[in-house]
Symmetry: C2
Subunit: 301 residues, 2 copies
Amino acid sequence: MSLLAVGSVAIDSVKTPFGERERSLGGSATHFSVSASFFTEVGVVAVVGDDFTEEDSAVFRERNIDTRNLQKVQGGRTFRWAGEYGFDLNTARTLDTQLNVFADFNPQLSEHARKTPFLFLGNIQPTLQREVRQQVDARFVAMDTMNYWIESARDELLKTIGVVDALIINDAEARELAGESNLIRAARWILGQGPQMLVVKRGEFGAAFFTKDSYFATTAYPLEAVFDPTGAGDSFAGGFMGYLAAADRIDDSVLRRAIIYGSVMASFNVEEFSCDRLRKLTPEEIRARYLEFKEYTNFEV
Amino acid sequence: MSLLAVGSVAIDSVKTPFGERERSLGGSATHFSVSASFFTEVGVVAVVGDDFTEEDSAVFRERNIDTRNLQKVQGGRTFRWAGEYGFDLNTARTLDTQLNVFADFNPQLSEHARKTPFLFLGNIQPTLQREVRQQVDARFVAMDTMNYWIESARDELLKTIGVVDALIINDAEARELAGESNLIRAARWILGQGPQMLVVKRGEFGAAFFTKDSYFATTAYPLEAVFDPTGAGDSFAGGFMGYLAAADRIDDSVLRRAIIYGSVMASFNVEEFSCDRLRKLTPEEIRARYLEFKEYTNFEV
């Protein structure tokens, strides 16, 4: 196993302008690991209740995702999220959140998991992210977070940001975290907190990538039909980290390709509910869309 | 003269979070022509009052802009606009608009102007744009517009869109015009109205370019300090049209380069008030920033 992800496995209830689904497998660790599984061997660290069915389990099994650190709490209920998207599809309105078994989540990783070289800390409480980080002897660690932690656990969050290699967050979160409306200045501030690199997810506008001495940006795939944006950010992170974990080195050229593969995976993820699109995706489709990104962004000097 | 622009020459009063200027030369024809003048010979069709000073005139003269169709109304007052930008710098709040001499603007073009091969119809009343378009035996015509005309003169606007080659508008305008929140579908609808191509300006997120069978998108230049966004869209259009007018052909590769040169010019325009930055710009700086766009967006397949 080359890549490990900690995060949520959730049962979502999602409503979009195009339809609704009452019970949909979701959560950051789910979207991340299914996406990453197209590139490398990936394992999840998460917790579910006994409402987590054989059908849910199949999503991980089909993609050969290592679930030895997916804890099942007997008598517990899986984390639930219900949300709704309006026509602009940019922001979800949360209708309900039930932490359930997630409230007491305090993962103790197995011996083999502790030796995984690539680690992704999905969007969970920052102290917990750091505790997981400390258990893994990883070579490269990336993390996500959200506005809720920026506002309610800023000090803990900054400590966690200080011990990772890459922060992968969205545009509004980057500006809020830095307290700076200009993204370029916000990025510089964030890079001053410890991480070597910052990936900024910009939804339909693409992604931007910052290190102390380089900048890269890409547009998003021009989708005519975004069906369900849930998990876009995590499937992006999964493509990014999966590609890096499979590469034989990490340099500027590999990182740029990883950003494009992240964008490719996010674009597929949002085409259907839950992981439905990723479950039937093929490596040929991934490669074809990667080449379309080149076609859509290339120009001569 | 290879490129002609009709639009406003204005006296602006601008306030941004970084400063304010009481009397600042502005207007779509001004920003457009100063920007385009770095690429080709450009002329303006506009009207001013006798408050248009020698100092204002110098901006055009310095850049060798043909002002033979810039009409001066004795006893009239130049079009005035006052606006303010907040910290996000994305949208101006208009504080005051005085049409003045612009209210009766009804340009009758000189013989030499009627033979200009490239024509830009800046953001003015769509019927007036069409009247100018009909006077010019142009090979390639592009136009801009704004939400005000989309809402108040939709039928006239659609007629004008039907007689141009390229529409150059911003993201929100494209969606509003098409009545469609998805930009890709909005673009398809707009291309169905007549123009061969659509350029969508996305501010700090860059620009997207659509034809019936191709797509291109670029990020914006990563500016740490946007000082005054006034005229960004017109300087973009000026770079785009100026580059096209100077090229020996119009094909996909040339159009993509024109989009990048448009982005380059807009990025310089917003670095200072009015045309201050463009007035001291050099061709070497333009070329260097073009190459930076390549560096910031390139990735290997």
